[in-house]
Amino acid sequence: MALLSKKDTSLILDPLADNNPITIQVLGICSALAITAELKASIVMAISVLFVMGLGNVVIALMRNVIPSKIRIIVQLIVVASLVIIVDQVLKAFAYELSKTLSVFVGLIITNCIIMGRFEAFALGNGPYRSFLDGVGNAAGYGVILIIVGFFRELLGSGTLLGIPVLGDPIAKTGLYSIGYENNGFMLLSPMALIVVGIIIWVQRSRNRALIEEN
């Protein structure tokens, strides 16, 4: 027997494209945009969300039969908050500089709508294993968009990837800069994140016209 049945595979793969949490479900945009000026920060954020969502979904799925439905939001918040505290402490201990860059946005994983949305929509009604797959899939879909946005913003904005110059040296005028290329500093400012995501949505929807909205 295969490790993943066909249904389980679609749990992981659907959120990557046609049911992407950011571009289709419109969830989790809050923390997604502000930290994407650098690729490294985007990757760390994606991994943190993957950890919180995978584990959080399992915990909620295990407790789903004992949570009274009236106070479920508070229970969910407490579970996420505890997991986020772990992430925050680990980041502070092992990657202090990065945790300064991410500043309050690590804490804002708690109110990331993807997490609450998946708890409500999936983990409360499914077993722990499938919930885990669903959590990993959605977090990966979120991470993919984050990494795409981070890639373009860092490449066009500062000419580096993960801090390594890839387009040559802007001061010594080597590489691309020798023919008059300039970094677009505007890409580093927050409004460009919105516009880059807008363009990603545009590309995705023109490739798959079933996703087009009425208005």
């Binding site: 571009t23 000026a37 860059t101 409004p191 807008g198 023109s206 208005n215």
Partner: protein, 246 residues
């Protein structure tokens, strides 16, 4: 008094929750299809922020900060509970939102019906938790300033959602390319509005003159509060303005 006015305008325009830090984007995108619902949600956000930020300020000052427990006695003076701040802040917020929901349901059933599912979602609105976390990381000094900060941030969020809702009502009559309809065009409009709001960046720096006294003060404060990123933003905004002026 001056610092109150400065913080007030800074929180509404320069550090606008939606355009500068992207807080509360989920409800901002989901509830902005009609102006009336947008106004209702915006008012709820102003109220909840104005209540929770001062409350969380008190928690932070007398419970969580390094050495905050000194009022219990000298043996508690070196406790640092700040790692608990996420969980305590979110608990305060969830309780307050529940309270607001009960009050709104009692006094304004029409508003309650139109907000529907989104009222409980204020609890998980990043703007609310973000307000408290920024209050903590910017080291707001007094309770009055914390209230001011919460209120002004709420007003900034309200303005943003009101503006986008009005634009979206009008854009229904325009011929947008099909793949951009709905979400895509909203993202791009928000981006353009954010660029517009960046021009407020020069407001407190005296139009970018480097030797200005307030400029130096603001720059110093920025350095203290939010290390690299915020400062870079401000600086870029100023140089952008200069470029336009030229």
């Amino acid at each position: 008094m001056l610092e109150h006015i400065e913080l007030f305008f800074k929180s509404i325009f320069i550090d606008n929750m939606v355009f500068a830090t992207f807080l509360g984007m989920c409800s901002y995108l989901a509830v902005s299809k009609k102006v009336t619902t947008a106004v209702g949600l915006g008012a709820a956000v102003i109220f909840v922020l104005a209540v929770t930020v001062p409350l969380n300020w008190l928690l932070d000052q007398y419970l969580l900060q390094d050495g905050a427990l000194a009022w219990l006695g000298p043996e508690y003076a070196d406790y640092n509970l700040s790692f608990l701040s996420f969980i305590l802040f979110i608990a305060t917020i969830a309780t307050m939102v529940q309270l607001v929901e009960i009050v709104v349901e009692k006094f304004s059933p029409a508003l309650y019906n139109s907000l529907g599912i989104f009222l409980p979602l204020i609890a998980v609105n990043c703007a609310i938790l973000g307000g408290s976390l920024f209050m903590q990381s910017r080291e707001i000094a007094t309770l009055g300033l914390a209230f001011n900060y919460g209120l002004a941030s709420g007003i900034g969020w309200f303005l943003a959602i009101l503006a986008i809702a009005a634009i979206r009502e009008k854009i229904r009559y325009s011929n947008v390319p099909p793949p951009l309809r709905g979400l895509g065009i909203t993202f791009i409009i928000t981006g353009l509005m954010a660029i517009g709001f960046m021009s407020f960046g020069g407001m407190l720096t005296g139009g970018g003159s480097e030797d200005n006294v307030t400029d130096a003060k603001v720059a110093k404060e920025e350095e203290k509060k939010e290390p690299a990123k915020e400062e870079e933003l401000e600086e870029n905004a100023v140089s952008f303005n200069q470029a336009i002026n030229k």
